[in-house]
């Protein structure tokens, strides 16, 4: 009777420690590799390969800052992208299904976004206020 407390106490403590450790290491799994396209963003410019094969592509977006940036992939319909009334930002709603992929605004660092690319011409833009007009746009051909 007297030993019961200590007999269960130690295993309980050890169990707690083990569970905590296991919880910390969970979720560190890796994703299956797909074609990766490296894109670099910085104030206020986007650098991307001019030609990319079609298919499933993972964009590895490196934001070199210092600003937050987003990355929007738009399939080109017209020569020019439509602007909103402020004359500063692209009218994303007007583009509709032309928007192929969107990476929401992120702080500096590496971020990923996936897209299925059909052959054609594409715009890569950052549509944060003033960024598009400030120079953050480039074009890419998917073959």
């Amino acid at each position: 009777m007297r030993g019961a407390l200590h007999r269960f106490l130690l295993p309980a403590i050890l169990g707690l420690v083990v569970l905590t450790a296991a919880g910390c290491s969970a979720g560190a799994s890796t994703k299956p590799a797909s074609r990766t396209v490296r894109v670099t963003e910085k104030d206020f410019r986007i650098l991307a390969p001019k030609r990319v094969p079609s298919g499933d592509v993972t964009f590895s977006v490196r934001n070199k800052g210092p600003e937050h940036h987003e990355l929007i992939l738009v399939r080109e319909r017209d020569r020019r992208l439509p602007l909103r009334g402020d004359d500063l930002t692209v009218d994303e709603d007007g583009l509709g299904s032309a928007v192929v992929a969107t990476l929401e605004p992120e702080s500096p660092g590496v971020h990923e976004v996936k897209a299925h690319l059909r052959p054609g011409r594409y715009w890569l833009i950052c549509n944060m206020a003033g960024h598009y007009m400030g120079g953050m746009r480039t074009q890419m051909v998917v073959e």
Binding site: L9, D43, F44, M133
Partner: protein, 794 residues
């Protein structure tokens, strides 16, 4: 591992563990509070920063509007707004005061930016503010905007200055917004970090506390186990008593008393305690004192075990609440003590009281007698013939004999009497409330108890006793004196041969002198003060020397030459006659052997040696004489023993044994003479049964023959009696020629006395023998001369 560690039962291990747990809790709590405080304080700063950063966005938009208003001729102050923008961003980067905005808020303290991302964004903002301000100025001045070098890496392709200003304004605004967002995100991260840290800290604290608690419990368990095993494995018995009796008994009760623990609980223990000790134990258990008690407890097998207990009063101790007895089994020690006491006061051989206890009992009896005036008697008993048994059959037999005698005396005496063995073959009896006459009756019983021979080692041992009695009439007295008087009476009994004598004052006077001599005699024996003299015995018919009587002389340095008549009684009383007799016997034998080897001995020569009554009655004379003959290499027929009539006719077993021994010696060829014949009271008829060759007619008769017809008649009768029994008669103490003549006529075969020669040293006797001289008895008796001259020729 654990066994190697030193165990410290009183090291307060538990208290330290508890303290460690509390300290851990305190440390973790303090850390937690500090973290929270610091995070909260940082969050407060960040709120200010976020607010300022957000204000920059508004200011940037206002600046653009104000520039456009001024261009349109309206009133505005974009310059001030630009200044606030620049000052605010500087304050955000380097820390300091951010200026107030009119109608909006006050001056604000901003901390220096530390986060690298935030700082980089602020620096970009500063560049954008400059670009914005430069572009705004160009718009107002109408200057070329294309010439403005943009510092923040904008790549603006629209040529219109106003549009350009709008883009840079939007960028500035957006950068401000993002900076605010960065700070806000970092605050969130800090808060979530705080939460994680707090959780981790809590877990760690809990873990450490649990480990410490575990250590505490383990230490306590170990300590408890240690004490439990100390108590349970100890050979000491631990008992705890409460109001309802015994509450706890340690396991050692099984080994100590062969009883189960539960048998002792409650009133169980008291049942096994000895009646006489129960009150002591009860008192100790209820009052907690005295500190040490000794009591007896009966074990399962009905044996009393002596326990010595240390009593500790722990009734006020909350954990015990009773009286604790730590008991040790001291039975062996108690027994040893009893044994030692027994040894100190008892004779180990017979189990009787020893001399010390006897004296003590006599003292006590006298003390009682002084009060009550009751009579009492002290009796000393000395065995006759014991020494002979010891010498001839060995000490083992002697010891067994003493045990047997002790047993017989024990059954002959009353249980209220104190029977003691005082040493050697001497016993003592203290008879309380016993008169002289009753003591005499008891003495008779004791003697009677010895009449049956003791059968030991294949022998029927006849043993006698001499008993001295002293009666105390009641009142004061001294034990020493009483015992000494009994001793005197005992020697008197030995002397008289009557077996039992009652002390009277005449005896004291007589023996007072004797006892004084004793010490000197003892010293004399040790100091070689004794000498053997020889007195010739002569055949009156031819005057030739037919033997010598060996006589002992004592040349005392204090008393000069002491006559045998003065010291022999003392020697007999003290028992010194034994060694003295042995000395004379040995000397006489070796001297005679020496004469024999020198071939100077006449034919039929006999050396006569006197034996005392005590030598005979103590037994073993046969062995001793044979030993002396053997040692000297002397043929037995050259030795004669003179025995007193009283010793010879003594009654009882000792007398019988003495006669038997003499008979054996007689058969060996040793001659036996009866000394002082006619002075005793024995029946002449005894003579027939005795192994005797010669009777010596006492000098008292010889010296009376001239004048007393009765002495002459007795002498004549003795001589004729001797002849009738086939013995010879010798007249001793012949001092005159007329006496010589008369004793010859009266039939004495041999004569001895001063008329021929006084006792002389061995050297003189040797000379006389070498000379081969006889005595001219004829001329002596004819001339009634005063002396007889030795005549030449053998």
């Amino acid at each position: 591992m654990r066994t190697g560690r030193e165990f410290k039962p009183f090291a307060h291990r538990g208290r330290r563990a508890v303290a460690a747990i509390l300290i851990t809790f305190a440390a973790f709590s303090a850390l937690s509070v500090a973290l929270s405080t610091s995070t909260t304080s940082r969050s407060k700063h960040r709120a200010t920063v976020v607010q300022l950063a957000a204000r920059q966005r508004t200011l940037a938009e206002r600046y653009v509007k104000e520039v456009l208003l001024v261009r349109d001729g309206r009133k505005a102050d974009p310059g001030q707004t630009a200044e606030i923008l620049a000052a605010s961003v500087n304050a955000l980067i380097d820390g300091g005061k951010a200026p107030s905005v009119e109608g909006d808020d006050d001056e604000t303290d901003a901390p220096r930016a530390t986060d690298p991302t935030f700082r980089a964004q602020l620096e970009q903002e500063r560049r954008l503010v400059r670009d914005l301000t430069a572009t705004g100025n160009a718009v107002l001045d109408g200057g070329s905007v294309k010439a403005i070098r943009l510092r923040a890496h904008e790549r603006i392709q629209v040529p219109d200055p106003v549009k350009r200003l709008g883009v840079i304004g939007a960028l500035t605004s957006n950068v401000s917004l993002n900076a605010a967002r960065t700070v806000a995100t970092s605050t969130d991260r800090n808060v979530s970090n705080l939460v994680s840290t707090q959780v981790a800290l809590g877990a760690a604290g809990l873990l450490v506390s649990l480990l410490l608690a575990y250590a505490l419990i383990a230490a306590t368990r170990r300590q408890t186990a240690h004490f439990r095993s100390l108590v349970t494995s100890s050979t000491d018995l631990v008992l705890v008593f409460g109001a309802s009796g015994c509450r706890y008994a340690s396991e050692s009760v099984t080994s100590m008393l062969d009883r189960r623990q539960e048998d002792l609980l409650g009133d169980g223990f008291a049942r096994f305690v000895h009646d006489e000790d129960r009150a002591t134990v009860r008192a100790a258990c209820s009052t907690g004192g005295p500190r040490e008690i000794l009591f007896r407890v009966m074990n399962k097998f009905g044996e009393w075990r002596h326990l010595e207990a240390h009593v500790t009063d722990l009734r006020s101790d909350r954990d015990i609440g009773g009286v604790v007895l730590n008991a040790r089994d001291v039975t062996e020690r108690v027994r040893l003590e009893e044994q030692l006491t027994e040894q100190a006061f008892h004779d180990s051989l017979t189990g009787l009281a020893n001399r010390a206890l006897f004296r003590d009992r006599v003292d006590q009896a006298l003390t009682r007698s002084e009060r009550s005036q009751d009579v009492l008697a002290v009796m000393l008993v000395d065995l006759d013939g014991f020494k002979g048994v010891n010498d001839s059959l060995g000490h083992d037999v002697g010891d067994q004999l003493l045990q047997e005698v002790a047993e017989r005396f024990g059954s002959a005496s009353r249980s209220s009497d104190t029977l003691a063995r005082l040493g050697g073959d001497e016993f003592g009896l203290l008879l309380e409330g016993t008169s002289e006459s009753q003591a005499i009756i008891l003495a008779g019983r004791l003697l009677k108890s010895l009449s049956e021979p003791v059968r030991l080692a294949g022998h029927d041992l006849a043993i006698g006793a001499s008993i001295g009695i002293v009666a105390h009439p009641g009142g004061p007295g001294k034990s020493d004196e009483l015992i000494r008087h009994a001793d005197v009476a005992m020697y008197a009994a030995k002397e008289s041969g009557r077996g039992c004598e009652v002390f009277h004052q005449d005896m004291a006077r007589e023996f007072g002198e004797t006892l004084g001599l004793e010490h000197e005699l003892r010293l004399g024996l040790q100091g070689d003060e004794f000498e053997v003299y020889y007195q010739p015995e002569v055949d009156p018919a031819h005057g030739e020397i037919v033997g010598v009587e060996a006589l002992v002389r004592w040349r005392s340095p204090e008393r000069g030459l002491v006559s045998p008549g003065d010291f022999i009684p003392a020697a007999e009383a003290s028992g010194l006659i034994g060694p003295l007799g042995d000395y004379v016997l040995d000397q006489a034998c070796s001297q005679t052997a020496s004469w024999l080897s020198e071939s100077i001995l006449p034919e039929r020569f006999i050396t006569w040696v006197n034996l005392s009554g005590r030598q005979l009655s103590s037994g073993g004379i046969c062995e001793r004489v044979r030993g002396a003959l053997e040692a000297a290499g002397l043929p037995a027929h050259l030795l004669g023993l003179e025995v007193t009539e009283t010793a010879m006719v003594r009654e009882g077993t000792a007398g019988d044994r003495a006669r038997a021994e003499l008979k054996q010696l007689h058969e060996d060829g040793v001659h036996i003479a009866i000394d002082d014949f006619g002075t005793g009271f024995s029946s002449l008829g005894h003579l027939r049964r005795f192994p005797v060759d010669l009777i010596k007619v006492d000098r008292s008769f010889v010296q009376g023959v001239e004048h007393d017809a009765k002495d002459a008649a007795i002498t004549a009768n003795l001589a004729s009696l001797a002849h009738a029994l086939g013995l010879k008669a010798i007249a001793e103490g012949v001092e005159s020629a007329s006496q010589l003549e008369l004793v010859r006529e009266l039939g004495c075969d041999l004569v001895q006395g001063f008329l021929f020669a006084r006792p002389m040293p061995a050297g003189d006797m040797t000379q006389m023998l070498i000379a081969g001289e006889g005595f001219d008895t004829r001329s002596l008796s004819e001339h009634f001369g005063a002396g007889i001259m030795p005549v030449g020729g053998a």
